[in-house]
Amino acid sequence: MTTAFFRTVILYFILMVGLRLMGKRQIGELEPSELVLTLIISDLAAVPMQDFGIPLVNGLFPIITLLCLSMLLSFFSLKSIRFRGLVCGHPTVIVREGKVLQQNMARNRFTVDELFEQLRCQGYSDLSAVKYAILETSGQVSILAYTKDSPVTPQTLNYDVQDDVTLPVLLINDGHVLSRNLEGSGYDQNWLDKQLKSRRLTSPRQVFLMTVDEAGAVVCVAKEEAA
């Protein structure tokens, strides 16, 4: 079992280093440590499940070891910027003022095809419209356009608009009343009953979804069989 413990630790770090060396483009949306965890845990869980000759603890102990290692990495990443850089890497600028930084692209094994794919996905057909493109540690590309090419907002036009964005709070979820949300929004059961009655509903069980926002606007969707 000690062998399993040490093997797990060694494999975890080898895979971590390997993925860091592979560069960000292989990672996708997961951080390297998360990907390693996902890869190994899925395999570790499958082996004792399929082979009854292997004791369950031989699968469980490595999984717990991996989860603990992952938690420790998160802890040290939180405490130390240098450690975080070592584990997760740093964002890399790959386009600066319309100019592709080839060395940075090569260092991350990021191809021109992938760059243009990302540009197209984010609605840019012309490289010259991009002021900065940054390859994030998650493998995603953030694109910052020149101000002249950025979408127009009321602020750029000096329009004074009323802020009407409010956060809706879920009060009924598939027939279940979320009492904590109801009280947290400053309402009670009587208010809820009135709301239901005004919509010709007799019970929260008939409601699929009900929300209320900070302005007091209620959205109610009845279940299809009750509607």
């Binding site: 000690t2 004791p55 031989n58 998160s74 802890f75």
Partner: protein, 126 residues
Amino acid sequence: MKAFYIPAGLLALILAFSLWTGHYVRQRTNHWIALLEHTDTAAMEENWSEAEARLRTVYDDWDSSQRFFHTIMNHSDLDEAESLFAGARAVCSQKDDADFHLMLAQLKEQMHLLAETQSVSIKNIL
């Protein structure tokens, strides 16, 4: 600091349990090997009733540890030892000195192997 102490504590616990398991298995197998050597001595002295009684004692002791052993070790390794025990009992009842000696030697080697699988060594880890 809870985010550090809980995983670090769990890791320490797993490591400690693993080391203890290795030590325990080594201790138990050494005990059985010593008993098997006594059994072998009795057989070489042609004292077959004593050899049979000693072999039964070793097997009973072995059998009582099987539940724990099956939770920490590969079942095929334990099944191998189990079949060697059965073979040794059969040969002992036939009072065949040469075969019994050979069977006990294989059984002792299997015990060494069981302890080896749980020990901390570079050979095992790599």
